[in-house]
Amino acid sequence: MCRVVDLQQAVLAKNDICAHELRAELAARGTIVVNLLSSPGSGKTALLEQELLLARRRGLPVAALTADLATENDAVRLARSGVPVKQVLTDGLCHLEAGMLGAHLEDWLPEDTRLLFVENVGNLVCPASYDLGESLRVALASVTEGEDKPLKYPTAFGLAQLVVVTKMDIAEAVGFDEAAFRANVQQVNPGVEVVLTSARSGAGAGLLLDRAAAVADGAEAHLPVMAHRTDAHHSHHGGGELHSHEGGLLHAHPNAQDGDGHSHAHAAGAATTARAHRP
């Protein structure tokens, strides 16, 4: 007998729960994670080298974890700053997941760490879908990558809480159109701050550190429209019923599929409500 079951489970629910737990666990000990996303070669490591060194000079306890498919080159570079650094080799995996990060922090992350910078795998597609339990997500783009990068990778830039432009020292030579870049960022992520940096010239040095430290001190990070989604408690099924949302907003579901007209509340994200209806 074939039975149709309304499962309604978020595919990344497990990662999201794991990320949520990690965030809470780290917050309890006064640590926040800064998740850095960019394409390969956009200058995450160079920027981080500079920020880690600055943090050390300022006496701010920071640490860095860097993920790559292969080689320990980045860890070697970052370790020169003198702060605790860990290299994670993903063995071909294109992104980090919250559970992986949590496992790597055990027995490694110094107890007094205030900021943990996570240099994600250089990739603007896959890492964007995975919450790592960060409190600040940063998307980087170098001036050589083209002003339309935010439009080509809307999920990565749309979910960023801070956008960092790197290699500004060569902006003029490569004809970087800052206004166009900013406009494209605003299209996918209205209100997000864009900062300009150059690890080579030192322009914008400390900005990333300042923003991260502010969040660690309790400042509210930018909430992107794309992250401000309602689908966590807004599952699409059932026939045209009215759901009551927080804030008293009532509206009908646009995608009525069957006609069983049930009405019920959903828990956030990881809702696992298996309800069967026999066709």
Partner: protein
């Protein structure tokens, strides 16, 4: 590409649910994929087939439903299809969208599975019956 990770997560979750419900074989899975979910349906279908092999989902059909991105404006209450690349500023008043109503779904909507009484195995005929 992370479609293999996504496919394995889908298979893992459906496997768990099937086991809990005593389902014996999964026939199909309905998956909602938002326009902004960052997942390529074709690539996911390929990975899904591989991820199913050797599980209770072996041979199951993946029915992908694309969910268009929609946003709502706070000040003027306008609702619009955000398109791709998404336009998250209100086309009417220019304000930032108050919320994304749809478009980031990566959700197992439903499954169709074989359930309950497992048909009794046919016993082999004894020589006298032949």
């Amino acid at each position: 590409m992370h479609e293999m990770s996504i496919a394995m997560a889908v298979v893992g979750q459906v496997e768990e649910a099937a086991q809990a419900a005593g389902a014996t074989a999964v026939r199909s899975i309905r998956l909602q994929v938002g326009e902004l979910a960052g997942v390529v349906p074709d690539s996911l279908a390929f990975c899904f087939e591989l991820a199913c092999s050797g599980t209770v989902l072996e041979g199951a059909e993946l029915l992908t439903e694309s969910v268009p991105g929609r946003a709502r404006c706070g000040p003027c209450a306008d609702e619009w299809a955000v398109g791709m690349p998404p336009e998250l500023c209100c086309p009417v008043c220019g304000a930032a969208a108050a919320e994304l109503l749809a478009g980031r779904e990566l959700q197992i909507a439903g499954v169709c599975w074989e359930e309950g009484p497992v048909p009794a195995p046919t016993r082999e005929r004894i020589p006298e019956e032949r």
